[in-house]
């Protein structure tokens, strides 16, 4: 058995003195065609599933649009989105879209003690009636005039803007309801005079 095996293995390995050679028959066309076909299918697959290199798209979502559409929209989220839009239209040009205020234009809103109040009643007076004269914001003195920018907005829209201001840029205060706005609008009347800082302080939070 032992000798048979070794004889057999001897018979099938040739003396290894010659180095191997290779024939030169070329690769047929069909294999290139198959390659191109697979490449096409692969690109289609990537286009469908790959999310085009978006860092936030994970399976099972296939694209950033699909992911955006799936985001949960609670009532608060809807209000925040509407508030952001109106804020950037009416307020952002002076207070800044980042809420940081602008020198010689308007004081900051982020972290401002006028915004971070328990309720929103005092804050709501400012866009509805306007504000003039010296006030102190975050330890700095300001002396500007602000028109009643919010008087033209509906109760719902203004409530959304104030909700957005009170819930953005690190501010974490509660929502403002349209009913709050309605109440304050009635208080300031049809032809309001801009408030002063002192008068504003007498308003309840």
């Amino acid at each position: 058995m032992n000798d048979d095996m070794s004889d057999e293995s001897k018979s099938c390995s040739l003396p290894s003195s010659t180095e191997p050679t290779a024939t030169r028959s070329t690769v047929p066309m069909w294999i290139f065609v198959v390659t191109l076909l697979l490449l096409f299918l692969g690109f289609a697959f990537f286009d469908k599933k790959g999310g085009w290199f978006d860092v936030r798209v994970y399976a099972p979502y296939n694209s950033s649009e699909e992911l955006e559409a799936a985001q949960p929209k609670s009532a608060a989220a809807v209000a925040m989105a509407a508030g952001k839009k109106n804020y950037e239209t009416y307020c952002g040009s002076c207070h800044g879209n980042d809420g940081a205020g602008k020198i010689a234009q308007a004081p900051p809103l982020s972290g401002s003690e006028w915004v971070m109040t328990k309720g929103a009643e005092r804050l709501a007076h400012i866009p509805l009636a306007g504000l003039g004269g010296p006030i102190k914001v975050e330890g700095k003195d300001w002396n500007m005039n602000m028109a009643a920018m919010g008087a033209g907005l509906s109760d719902t829209d203004l409530a959304a803007v104030l909700t957005y201001i009170r819930g953005s840029w690190g501010n974490k205060m509660g929502e403002v309801s349209p009913d709050d706005i309605k109440k304050v609008r009635a208080e300031v009347g049809k032809a309001p005079q801009p408030y002063t800082g002192e008068k504003l302080m007498t308003m309840p939070e």
Binding site: M1, N2, M5, S6, E8, S9, S11, C12, S13, L14, S16, S17, T18, E19, P20, T21, A22, T23, R24, S25, T26, V27, I31, V34, T35, L38, L39, L41, G42, F43, F45, F46, K49, G50, G51, W52, F53, D54, V55, R56, V57, Y58, A59, Y61, N62
Partner: protein
């Protein structure tokens, strides 16, 4: 081919003898690590039979033994064995003696020292925590330096070739020489040495490394060796050069992008791109299949246990292994097979069924040549062949079944347990086979060393009779 050269051709025996010292160190160490690695695999799989078996000894617990076994198989056996075989192939193809042969001799020692350091580190818990990269920094540096030293000698030998046109194996093996230092240094610098990458970027680098090392690098080495030895052993030419090169480029181009699992917690473009690339692997698989079938068709020999048998079967094993890789990446199958034993089985088939069997065949073929002596136990070669083939089948097939059962039962905790227990039988057979190789190599080295001592002693005692001593 060689007769064209007017200069005196270097005799094959001289070329082989120039490889003797470095290859002996590489192969002996590799055989030892193979035995130890398979022994640790058996120890690890004891846990399937009796989970609390190593509750007392943390060193042999599954998490340690399994990692150590895997690393020994790859870094202990596959890489040094592949380096040794590559050196010999480069020397033979260039028809010159090995250039700078002291470099690989020193490097082989460094390599095995690095593996030893890594083994101790894993068993004592000093691992990096990344599969296939568990070795700590000191060990990784030793391995890196050793590899580069050996690669320098291999490339220098390549540069000395007389036949300027390249043989297909040249491409595969040169790419392997370049790719390993690249992926190994990238992975170690970004993952093990310190932590410059944050969060899940670590995992992406790790998947990239694992796929490029285990699948691509081993495929380059295995196919390079098969495409060299198969024509040589059958006396047939390789059919054909261009198919082999087509396989080479498509494997490099697509294979290097595979490996990121479909369910990975990373943005969708990464796994999608990887699945795309895995699907494209169909092309190199097709090309390799054509080369193997066409080349083998010319050889009408049945030699189950000869080195030809190893090379033929090992080469063919690339096909099922790569097909399983592609199948596991298909979206409809990956949902079921991902995170099951199926993936582990594919990796083991690639390492043990393809890489190890090819390298074992090459070692059994080369060692008698470089030593200029037959193996002490020639019958061990076919015995080890049958043990390895049955062992791989008995190890991998049950794992595949266990994986499918696990996936279909949605990870029911005891799914496929019977098959896991059965797979240990395959490991035991593989271990027995590797012991045969170790015995052959160690006995041969021992005899050679004794002869060497005798020669030296004879030279000292009776300098005049020096020439009569058989070396």
């Amino acid at each position: 081919m060689k007769t064209q050269d007017p200069r005196a051709k270097t005799p094959d025996a001289t070329i082989d003898a120039s490889c003797r010292l470095p290859l002996l160190v590489l192969f002996n160490g590799a055989a030892l690590w193979l035995v130890l690695g398979l022994a640790l695999s058996v120890i690890a799989s004891l846990t399937f039979h009796k989970p609390e078996i190593f509750a007392c000894c943390p060193m042999l617990s599954y998490g340690h033994a399994q990692a150590a076994a895997n690393d020994l198989l790859v870094y202990g056996f596959c890489v040094p064995a592949a380096l040794g075989v590559m050196l010999w192939i480069f020397a033979r193809l260039s028809q010159t003696e090995l250039v700078l042969s002291p470099l690989p001799f020193i490097a082989a020692h460094l390599w095995h020292l690095g593996v030893l350091v890594g083994l101790v580190a894993i068993l004592t818990g000093n691992t990096s925590g990344f599969a296939w990269l568990e070795f700590p920094r000191a060990s990784a540096m030793l391995l890196g330096v050793a590899f580069v030293l050996i690669a320098i000698s291999a490339v220098a030998t390549f540069g000395q070739r007389e036949e300027r046109e390249l043989y297909p194996s040249h491409w595969f093996l040169l790419a392997a020489l370049l790719w390993f230092p690249w992926i190994y240094s990238t992975a170690n610098l970004l993952l093990v040495t310190n932590w410059p990458v944050r969060g899940v970027a670590q995992s992406i680098v790790h998947w990239w490394f694992t796929n490029n090392f285990i699948f691509v690098w081993l495929a380059l080495v295995g196919l390079g060796v098969v495409f060299y030895l198969l024509p040589k052993l059958t006396g047939q030419p390789l059919r054909s050069k261009f198919y082999a090169l087509f396989a080479f480029w498509t494997l490099m181009f697509f294979g290097t992008w595979a490996g990121i699992p479909a369910g990975a917690p990373v943005p969708a473009w990464l796994p999608t791109l990887s699945q795309f690339a895995s699907m494209m692997l169909v092309i190199p698989i097709l090309a390799v299949a054509i080369v193997l079938v066409k080349t083998l068709r010319g050889a009408k020999l049945f030699c189950g246990g000869s080195t030809y048998g190893y090379i033929r079967l090992g080469g063919l094993m690339f096909l099922p292994s790569a097909v399983l890789l592609v199948a596991a990446a298909c979206p409809q199958y990956s949902r079921v097979l991902e995170f099951t034993w199926f993936g582990a089985a594919q990796v083991q088939l690639h390492i043990l069924g393809f890489g190890t069997i090819v390298l074992l065949g090459a070692i059994n073929e080369i060692v008698p040549l470089i030593m200029d002596k037959p193996l002490p136990f020639k019958k061990f070669v076919p015995w080890q062949f049958f043990l390895s083939v049955v062992g791989v089948a008995l190890f991998v097939i049950p794992l595949l079944i266990a994986g499918v059962q696990q996936g279909h039962s949605n990870f029911e905790p005891n799914a496929g347990k019977f098959w896991l227990k059965l797979s240990m039988g395959g490991l035991v057979l593989l271990l027995l086979g590797s012991l045969l190789l170790l015995t052959n190599l160690f006995l041969m080295t021992l005899k050679w060393k004794i002869a060497l001592v005798k020669t030296v002693a004879a030279a000292v005692v009776a300098p005049l009779e020096n020439s009569e001593v058989k070396s």
